[in-house]
Amino acid sequence: MNGSLKIKILLSLSLLILMLLAAGIMSMLEFRKMGDSVDRVLKNNYQSIESAKRMTDALEREDSGLLLWMIGDRDSGIGTIHRSDSIITKAITDALANITETNEQQSISIIIDAYDKYHASVINIVEKENSVVERKQKYDSETQALFFDTKEAINRLMVLNQDQMNRQSGIVKEKSRRAMMPAIVSIAAAIIFAILLNFFITIYFIHPIRKFINGVKEYYPEQGRLNAHVVSKDEFKILEDEINILISRLLRKRDVSNE
């Protein structure tokens, strides 16, 4: 390209900016992808795990409420049972609204079935006017087993989401590695670019100036022209030509004066 020095510098810097822009955009895109993955982990899996924890807590409180009721603190017991039931129902609704994994729907259906049976058993004990011994027998033989079944079903939902979370963390790790790659490549490219720029500055800026210095140092009037031998067709070439014109004008003037 036979452009001026200004254009050469401008284009070189534009290319550098373009390269940095490309690297920046690429890294931003990759980090956004990574952010999406983290967000997905938090939204999809962590929310389900949280719902499962709420279910477990409420289930345990419901069981405590039943025991309170059985030992005679009926108002407090029935209040705890109803509050826990509404918490579990809400947690199940939340979990149903956040189904993201295969088999998650099935797991929640199992929880609903198990809890319905358990809750029916609790209500059965509370509503029927049986003796203390009968209630205790019913609790030991049926309600407690249903409690553990429900807890186990909730645990399975939790494990399902925890496993998926672990897998997602692996994916996030891989994505973070990928997000670094454009930066690494860009650094390498920028180093090469800098070396090339340095090379071209030396060849097309420093060398012509040195040639001029040497040309001026070694100049003697008999040679006529200043031999700078500039190869590029930019301002340096124009300068060389202008110096040579100046020399010939001065030489002509000297010849005229001598005559």
Partner: protein, 481 residues
């Protein structure tokens, strides 16, 4: 004296050429909504930026000297291979830095050796880039660049001297400036015809294009994990086999045959000999496979023919697991992996013409022993081979064998078993791809240590550049210092 700025300017052209194919791959990725789009676009932008940069400073080049041509040729290959790995490296998956470099070198040198356990997991954009590297490497990046560059004094001839071997030039009965057009005509015609035929035989258009690139460039990259075996279609195999064989012949002779010239593949004695040797190899393996009751006669012929042609053409596409074949058949296949195709083709390896001339030279030496005062000329297709060229061929064969043994030895020192070390060495220096042992036809190079992958990458480059050019550049650089 080498003008560095001239070398850099031409390396810039090479980068721009690669950027073009990266953009095409990115477009494929875009239309298929794949996650490789960013990696391909970024690589293309980077390549284009670095390629354009020298153009800003370096003035018009009126003439290129031989040493500059040699530097551009060797450095062009190295830089191309480094650039080619960027999209793999950024995309991730199975591509670590070493794996990405290995896959890139394997593609450009048309070796077709892969580190991928699951090729089908790659997005289409990356699959296309993978075969594009073979497509570019098939006839050589430098020749491709020459296609788009205006003809200038010394530019083409200095590249030819470094890129096209003297032996290869003999069968191009035309001036050097026409050679690029001949190679390009044959290359593109074969690719178009094969793509159409494979599409008609039921391959998807994408697969047909990828396999045509792979066949004509003799690389052997496939879009399927089980290569051509996954199609289990004898007609597809026959079409691919035909084009593999054609691609292993001298492109000048193929062009002469297409244009009905007198000196063509049917009249060229070395070519007829080559065909004869390939046919004998196929028959011997067929008989053994039949006799060992591995397959019936026709099936044996089908698999033997495909595998012999795949290895001798250095394509390396696969229809059968050859590592399970009897020892005699394996030895024959190893021979074909050494012999390879003809000079002036896209095939790698020693090349049949050199072996042919080596034995002709041996015959001449015998005659000279019997008749010391006799004058005997070494001839190929009625053309006398100069003594320098005869010596060059012998030196090349010795260097080839030495490189092969050194690589085998170094691989063994890395704890790799003998069969794998031996076959990985000949499969990479010959740019064949599949070997035996751990790197057999349905296997890959993934399990090798990183150091082995770097060594084999260097081996592939040495094989593609026919060893001497690399040494010439090293000597040139050392002397300059």
């Amino acid at each position: 004296m080498v003008r560095t700025r001239v070398v850099i300017k031409y390396l810039g052209y090479i980068l721009l050429f690669n950027a073009l194919f990266l953009f095409i791959s990115a477009i494929i990725s875009f239309f298929n909504k794949e996650n490789s789009l960013n990696a391909l676009l970024f690589s293309a932008a980077l390549c284009a930026t670095l390629g354009v940069f020298p153009y800003i400073f370096v003035e018009k080049i009126e003439e290129i000297r031989f040493h500059e041509g040699l530097s551009i040729s060797v450095l062009g290959w190295i830089i191309t291979c480094i650039v080619g790995m960027i999209p793999y490296f950024i995309w991730g998956g199975e591509f670590t830095f070493t794996n990405a470099l290995f896959e890139s070198v394997s593609g450009y040198t048309t070796t077709g050796a892969s580190i991928l356990n699951n090729v089908e997991a790659l997005p289409k954009g990356l699959l296309f880039w993978r075969v594009s590297t073979s497509f570019i490497g098939g006839v050589g990046i430098i020749l491709f660049v020459l296609l788009v560059l205006p003809e200038k004094k010394g530019v083409q001839s200095s590249f030819y001297r470094s890129e096209v071997s003297d032996l290869s030039k003999m069968s191009f009965r035309t001036r050097s400036r026409h050679i690029t057009r001949i190679i390009a005509t044959v290359y593109f015609s074969l690719i178009i015809v094969e793509t159409v035929l494979l599409k008609l035989l039921g391959m998807s258009f994408f697969d047909a294009v990828c396999h045509s690139f792979s066949t004509i460039a003799t690389s052997g990259f496939s879009t399927k994990n089980r290569s051509i075996a996954s199609y289990d279609n004898v007609w597809i195999e026959m079409v691919i086999m035909f084009f593999m064989l054609i691609s292993s012949l001298h492109f000048g002779l193929v062009y002469a045959t297409m244009t009905r010239k007198k000196h063509n593949i049917f009249t060229s004695r070395p070519t007829r000999m080559y065909m004869f040797v390939v046919a004998i190899g196929i028959l011997l393996i067929t008989f053994q496979l039949t006799q060992e009751k591995m397959f019936g006669f026709w099936e044996s012929l089908r698999y033997a023919a495909f595998q012999v042609v795949a290895l001798t053409s250095t394509t390396g596409l696969v229809t059968a697991d050859t590592s399970l074949w009897p020892l005699f058949s394996i030895i024959l296949l190893i021979y074909f992996s050494f012999q390879c195709g003809m000079v002036g083709s896209t095939a790698g390896g020693i090349k049949f013409d050199r072996i042919y001339l080596f034995f002709s030279s041996f015959n001449k030496q015998l005659k000279l022993i019997l008749h010391p005062n006799g004058i005997y000329a070494l001839k190929m297709d009625k053309k006398v081979i100069e003594h320098d060229l005869e010596l060059q061929i012998i030196v090349f064969i010795i260097l080839y064998i030495l490189t092969f043994f050194t690589t085998s030895l170094l691989l063994s020192a890395m704890g790799i078993d003998g069969v794998t070390a031996f076959s990985a060495s000949f499969a990479t220096i010959g740019n064949v791809g599949p070997g035996f042992g751990g790197v057999s036809s349905f296997g890959n190079y993934a399990q090798l240590p990183d150091a082995a992958k770097y060594l084999l990458s260097a081996n592939m480059l040495l094989g593609r550049l026919e060893i001497m050019n690399v040494f010439a550049l090293i000597v040139m650089l050392v002397r300059k210092k």
